[in-house]
């Protein structure tokens, strides 16, 4: 029984990290209908920023997690640069071109990181120094609760932002009809840039929580994380923010439970099979809508 609850806790923690990354995917997809495969690599960029800035924060006597401010700044800048330099010129060329450009950006970022940071994996210093609670033989680390709470908070505040602010309204208008949106006085390019900025800032927060649980930064961390989060986003219904959260938690839970109770070697195969089944049975995802706006 305690193994079951422990697995539940572990699964929710891993799921919350996937969910945070999936939020970034789904956000960008919802606005410009483009799957940004470089999103995982924004997390890599954020993690390297954390690796270099956390020691500075500690030396300055500030809490380590404050380094996330630097990560947010760096990721936002990188995200906006990628959008302006790489994605904007090909935007009119169709979704397949955009997709391939995103894959190219992903490889570019990974290789540039190798030149800048070297090929060695790095260990990030401990971010949260928190105790763990223990009840009925289950260890619940407080950082898990923080991860989960931040994931939930991000999802809710993004949903509110998109639904109730003027900028959010503009964001929803852009995917419906770009031309009509332009006629209504919305600067489509600016909206898309802002969207990328927000998506990349989310990646920085995800990097913080990822590094607090798995304190290791590698060049290719983004591609694996990105894939899982992409699956989470599609499972939950790509374009839907609560869907990304649900999808992320689901993928995390499935992975942990398969590892514990079925066969550890099978967890990826089962996750991906689930994706195929969902796409066949319910292509719009668990919380996705087939018609109407997707944000």
């Amino acid at each position: 029984m305690s193994l079951f609850i422990q697995s539940l806790v572990n699964g929710l923690n891993q799921g919350a990290i996937y969910a945070l990354i999936a939020l970034g995917y789904t956000m960008v997809y919802g606005i410009i209908r483009m799957i940004n495969f470089a999103h995982g690599d924004f997390i890599m960029v954020g993690s390297y920023t954390l690796f270099y800035t956390i020691p500075l924060m500690i030396r300055a006597g500030m809490p380590a997690w404050m380094a996330v401010l630097f990560a947010v700044a760096v990721c936002t800048v990188v995200g906006i640069l990628v959008e302006v330099i790489a994605y904007r010129p090909v935007r009119k060329a169709g979704s397949l071109t955009a997709l391939i450009t995103a894959l190219a950006m992903s490889l570019f970022l990974e290789n540039m990181a190798m030149v800048l940071f070297g090929p060695n994996p790095r260990s990030v210093p401990a971010i949260f120094k928190l105790p763990s609670l223990e009840f009925i033989g289950v260890k619940l680390q407080l950082k898990y609760i923080i991860t989960f709470a931040i994931g939930l908070l991000m999802m809710i505040s993004l949903t509110l932002f998109v639904r109730f602010t003027k900028l959010g309204k503009a964001m929803r208008a852009v995917p419906q009809d770009k031309q009509a949106a332009t006629l209504m006085g919305i600067k489509v390019n600016n909206i898309i840039t802002v969207t990328f900025g927000i998506g990349s800032a989310l990646a920085a927060v995800a990097a913080l929580l990822y590094c607090s649980t798995y304190p290791r930064v590698t060049l290719d961390m983004g591609s694996m994380m990105g894939l899982k989060a992409f699956i989470a986003a599609v499972l939950g219904g790509i374009g839907s923010l609560p869907g990304a959260m649900a999808g992320g938690l689901l993928v995390g839970l499935i992975e942990i439970f398969v590892k514990v109770y079925v066969a550890p070697g099978w967890y990826e195969a089962i996750t991906y099979s689930l994706l195929i089944i969902v796409l066949i049975v319910r292509p719009s995802g668990i919380l996705g809508k087939n018609i109407g706006e997707k944000v």
Binding site: R216, P264, G265
Partner: protein, 407 residues
């Protein structure tokens, strides 16, 4: 509809790459060797003739070196590059009648720590016409390379590949390190010595080294009365071990064996300790160079077997350690560096014994060789080095030599 189609195509691409990633290694090597065979076979005959013609005069061994310069274990490749450069310079500056030339401009060819790239790395050396190839450190990379080397009659001197299969592939495959059955037995004996009765194992299923060492450990451990209470799988790419950690705790094990490579070691040690496991955690030579920063207290009561210890007081080891650290610092001074260093000297020794610097003479000279360098050992009839195992532990996150177990 269009979007559905796009989603489907994307998914199949994703799933395709995943499946290729999971099960790709063995078919990868076997499928690529037939394609590689025709090209290599033709170049073999030409290289065979002109190297033997050239060799009578030059007394230079042309050596190709393969190592992991990038990827999760890049620190090994950097150590290899440094020590190979150092060994070659020393030999060429000495009065030795045999000189060496590291082909590819003195650079180690990168296998990226990835079995799929091993064949590419090996083939890229082909145009350089090496007379011997040194590498690699990982068993799963060395095995496909050894298959190619065997087809071509090329001498391959493995430097750290401990899986027992490596040298069984052919008579021109040698290694300057011990094999997993021996390493696993020593680890099991040590586990017994520190009071383990119920052992748990987590191993990387997609890696030949991890599988071999796991089997060796289980066999020896059960023989000496240690019960195996949990055997968990992971992959070399995993970052999350919380599921395996909770099972380790749940199984009531008092000892954990994790035969895998350095890059995931800090992750599993942290997650297993966080899950409430306080017992000893032990690994193999793949732990060498693992990053313990920030996890100093987690690494208390952790041990690993290794090829050599830089704290070894023997003059040969200390001479190597001093020379190396003066030039390159201690960060990349790992067992991999020592093994590549010895390998270059072994080839020179083989040329002297075999009476020539062509591949055939080197193979002849290598067979049954007794060698004394950083490591002191004899090659047995299976072309494996019979040498001592070092057991290391950690004190304040720093590797500390504990004992050396002679074979």
């Amino acid at each position: 509809m269009k979007r559905k189609l796009l989603a489907f195509v994307l998914t199949s691409v994703l799933v395709g790459t995943m499946l290729a990633g999971c099960s790709g290694n063995p078919p990868q090597s076997s499928s690529s060797s037939p394609t590689a065979a025709p090209t290599t076979a033709s170049s073999e005959s030409s290289s065979g003739s002109d190297t033997s013609a050239a060799d009578g005069e030059d007394n230079i061994i042309r050596i190709g070196v393969v190592g992991s310069l990038t990827g999760g274990s890049a620190i090994y490749g950097q150590g290899a590059q440094n020590s190979v450069t150092m060994a070659a310079e020393e030999i060429n500056a000495s009065d030795s009648p045999i000189k060496v030339e590291i082909v590819n401009g003195g650079k180690v060819v990168d296998d990226a720590g990835d079995a799929k790239q091993a064949v590419n790395a090996y083939n890229s050396l082909e145009p350089e016409k090496p007379e011997a190839i040194v590498g690699a450190f990982f068993s799963s990379i060395t095995i496909p390379m050894a298959e190619l080397a065997n087809e071509q009659g090329m001498l391959l001197l493995a430097t750290g590949a401990t899986n027992v299969k490596v040298t069984q592939i052919g008579p021109t495959i040698f290694r300057d390190n011990f094999i997993d059955p021996f390493q696993g037995e020593m680890a099991a004996n040590f586990a017994k010595e520190i009071g383990a009765t119920k052992a748990a194992i987590v191993y990387a299923k997609d890696d030949d080294y991890s599988n071999g060492l796991k089997d060796a450990f289980i066999e020896s451990a059960t023989k000496i009365g240690i019960e195996i209470v949990y055997t968990g799988e992971c992959t070399t790419k995993d970052t999350d071990f919380t599921a395996q950690a909770s099972k380790v705790v749940d199984s009531g094990a008092d000892f954990l064996f994790y035969p895998a490579f350095l890059d995931t070691v800090p992750l599993i040690v942290q997650q297993v300790r966080d899950a409430g496991f306080d017992g000893p955690i032990m690994g193999g030579d793949g732990w060498d160079g693992a990053d313990t920063s920030g996890l100093e207290s987690y690494f208390e009561n952790c041990y690993f077997t290794n090829h050599y210890s830089s704290e070894d007081t023997s003059p040969a080891v200390q001479a190597f350690v001093t020379k190396y650290t003066e030039r390159y610092g201690a960060d990349t001074l790992n067992a991999c560096a020592a093994l590549y260093y010895d390998a270059i000297y072994m080839l020179v020794e083989a040329a002297k014994r075999g009476g020539g610097t062509d591949t055939a003479s080197l193979v002849k000279g290598m067979t049954g060789m007794s060698f004394s360098g950083v490591g002191t050992f004899t090659l047995d009839e299976n072309r494996n080095a019979i040498k001592a195992v070092v057991i290391n532990t950690y004190v304040d996150g720093k590797v500390k030599w504990l004992k050396t177990l002679e074979p």
